[in-house]
Amino acid sequence: EIDGQFAHILDEALEDDDAEFDIDLEHQYLNMGFNVSEHDLNVAIAAKDAHAMGGVPSNKEAYMDSVRETFYVDVKGLKKSGQHSDRYAITNVAASVIPTFNPGFRVWEYNITGIEESLSLKAKPWTQFFAELDAMISLDDQNDDDDYDDLEDDFVEIEKRKNKKKKDKGPDISLPKPMPEGATLGPGYTPQTFSPLRFVQYYLDLKAVNEETKPFDYEVEYTSDGHPYKLESLLVDDYVSLARKLGKPIKKPKTKSSETASNEYDSDNLDELQNKKSLDELWKTYVKHAFVSSGYHD
């Protein structure tokens, strides 16, 4: 039954599913022998981590290495990434104004051609939509209040209701319905109105500004279409291609034939590996930009 429920996406065997999805670095701490629940420990570790977002930065290179290992090396080959890499979505995490590194922010540019022509359907007024939304969520709250769970401590009520059939809660409304058949991929995946085209990353050279060798003026730190990224657009495909370049070359398991051969790495990546040095440089530049050109090292 469960297999059938997700057939629209899990239609292929995930035989390459070698990386555990819900195990991240924090879970390593669980092996340290604390006698607390996993949930409590997760909250504690995450809270400590959240606090560490302030203060002197530490272990950020290690974090970037874990991103590389977990998310960039792991992006699948072309065939397994779906149409226009639609297996993926991109989370963009921004540099901040607070000088954890140098202050920075980003200006995104997007396609506005054809914006006047794009269809605008006659829809109900927003006021009506919000009124309906309010009503729906209020009703849901009332249903929650009727729930058995609220009455755990009330023995009388429990006795009264013991013989009543527990209300069917229906489908899990916190899960999305599959994308409608016939819907086409949106601006994140194929070029169209509102597709992101490029970004300009600004930063403040804090040391120079403090020393008054430069005026207070945000400079362009880098752009997505400039050196070394040269991204023609910012579709998911573009990000996934970049992630593949940023990922470490995957070592191929040693076999008799490979021990003597020079193809120490996965053959899919051979083209990229011919330029291994430039890929290393690409990673170094990417990490430099991640830390807003502050020169940070662990």
């Binding site: 819900d22 979505a89 998911v236």
Partner: protein, 305 residues
Amino acid sequence: LGNHRSKVLHGRFLHLTDIHPDEFYKVGANIEDNSCHRGKPGKGSAGASKYGDAMLGCDSPMILMNQTLEWVKTHLRDKIDFVVWTGDNIRHDNDRKIPRTEMEIFDMNTRVANLFHDIFHGDALDPRHYDVPVVPSLGNNDVYPHNLFAPGPTLQTRELWNIWQNFISEEQLHIFQRGSYYFTEVVPNKLAVLSINTLYLFKSNPLVDNCDNRKDPGFKLFQWLGVTLDELRERNMKVWLSGHVPPIPKNYDITCYRKFVMWLHEYRDIIVGGVYGHMNIDHFIPVDAKKAYKSYQDSLIRQGF
């Protein structure tokens, strides 16, 4: 009551995050305690610099915030269509001698919101009519105590509404007071930005358990997300998502993370992308829908047994 000027689209927007202004910051103060609030600098150190020092652990001096926003006003304001601003608008709680208070958090958030209002509002009579719409979202430092945010309506959701009400359409008051999430039509009838209260999905918020329990605010957030995205899809609109804490396994409860990724996947016909803050590190992460579904499927099977 708007300014009745025709809107010129530039095809650009600004994302700005984690300002962390600190009104106790003192130029020349000792940096060693990571707060730059007092004391003499150590030997060989000039102490806290005028605009702040990278990598030394202090928050932003007020002048850094003010001049940054002034720079934005001068160089960007008239070249962008909207602003996504993803929270953390006050200092960290890292000075035991001056612990943060709830009122201080509200006060600083109000001051920062007023700065954004003054820069981007323009001259319309309608306080909600912006030359450049601004879409704020809630940071884990913008709540008291740090990281803790309960389902609304609460004092905090009410105060947040008071602070941000000019940025949000009036009809969303009730929804906002339940969860401090909302959306803005940044290009009317064409493009919306959703402001997601990521604290309901955040591992570090002890007031929420997961996103599978119907009573948890994360569950209700997804309910709102579904209705809203359906309506936007119906109107043929496209959507950017925004929030403070980015959706990656390190940050979100696993039950919330995988659902979030599933939503991104099933609405890939209208969701353009997502921008987040919190981590201070400029990077991107491809999130994998197949693994999210597989993880959910596995969790159902485990529950079954």
